[in-house]
């Protein structure tokens, strides 16, 4: 059964999406929507292909056997996103068998510039600029408002077997993720 949803702009076109999929967040207090709910706890994390600073593709499957943190955000060139990369970079140095993947729609060149300037060496940055397969599968694409077309702020942790064990859709984009809760899952 198809449920009639609200109309949302996607890439300047109006599309219909079933409203039970939508997640509501805020951008400095203004309501916005993502394209859906994060993958459920206990479900298998969808595979993806994203591009690193060397323009090489990385898939989630290549990290099987490790705990994987997906630190998802709008842009490394904004303060809160940059801070989350710094925080995970610092913490990652003390974590065993954990890989932190920072994911946004920033181009790889922007990530590279940032990581060199900030001496970020313990985490991986991955860019979704070739298609929207990651944000479609993880439901992190923002569908309306000024941040339409960017990713929402979210943290997902995947265990060694590829199952989702933790997720946070940060309710307000201008707010830090819950680092403590995420790190507790990793230790």
């Amino acid at each position: 059964m198809e449920i009639e949803g609200l109309k949302f702009r996607n890439g300047f076109q109006t599309i219909k999406a079933p409203n039970y999929f939508m997640a509501t967040i805020t951008l400095e207090g203004v309501t916005a929507h993502t394209c859906g709910q994060l993958p459920k706890l206990g479900s298998k994390a969808p595979n993806f292909s994203l591009v690193d600073q060397g323009l090489n593709n990385h898939s989630l499957n290549s990290y099987l056997g490790k705990k994987v943190v997906l630190n998802i955000f709008p842009s490394v060139d904004t303060g809160i996103c940059a801070n989350s990369v710094r925080t995970f970079n610092r913490e990652a140095a003390e974590l065993d068998n954990v890989v932190v993947l920072n994911i946004s729609r920033d181009l790889p060149f922007s990530f590279k510039r940032f990581c060199i300037a900030e001496e970020i060496k313990n985490v991986i940055t991955l860019s979704e600029f070739r298609d929207s397969s990651f944000s479609d599968r993880y439901n992190v694409l923002i569908m309306d408002g000024d941040f339409e077309g960017l990713m929402s702020r979210a943290v997902i942790i995947i265990d060694e077997q590829g199952m989702v064990i933790y997720s946070e859709q940060v309710p307000e984009i201008a707010q830090d993720p819950n680092f403590e809760a995420a790190l507790a899952m990793l230790k």
Binding site: S75, D77, R105, L107
Partner: protein, 167 residues
């Protein structure tokens, strides 16, 4: 498909740039303030589309600096720098470099610009980025000059583009 090179290796773009004399396709892109801008907003001006892979690479950054410097001497001309960099990257770059005479537009929401202008790179490490190209549109919205730079690591022909603006 148009053939170009990246560091000497052959790669392809989606196709040929719009032909000279044709009407420049309209587009919607996003500026540094996250506002949508269209080509039609600039009707009545000469418009330079300075298209490139990423502001965070040397040749692209240099082209923005060059056009920013030249723009002060040009009357009734708007320079639009266009890439798939996020607006935040453009903003940081321009704030750091004091770039004030040009407009920066990002294609991150869809591919309407690169589809219409055939500037998407389709293979190799730069697949999904825009090729380096210059398109000049006159006051009536017609394409009057184009350059598909044949090698990504090479500057566009600034002198020829500037001559087209002053003619």
């Amino acid at each position: 498909m148009a053939k170009i090179t990246l560091g000497g290796n052959p790669i392809n773009t989606k196709g040929d740039l719009p032909a000279i004399g044709t009407e420049a396709p309209n587009f919607k892109l996003v500026d540094e303030s996250l506002k949508v801008q269209e080509l039609s907003d600039y009707k009545g001006k000469k418009i330079v589309l300075n298209i490139f892979p990423s502001i965070d690479t040397g040749v692209c950054a240099n082209s923005v600096r060059t056009f920013n410097k030249e723009a002060t001497d040009l009357e009734n001309v708007s320079i639009l720098n266009i890439s798939r960099d996020l607006p935040f990257a453009f903003k940081r770059f321009c704030a750091a470099e004091g770039i004030e005479n040009v407009v920066n537009l990002s294609e991150f929401r869809d591919t309407n610009f690169s589809d219409a202008y055939n500037v998407m790179i389709t293979d190799g490490g730069f697949a999904g980025l825009l090729s380096r190209a210059i398109v000049i549109v006159n006051e009536a919205g017609q394409v009057i000059y184009t350059e598909q730079v044949p090698e990504i690591g090479q500057d566009p022909n600034f002198a020829a583009a500037l001559a087209a603006l002053k003619s």
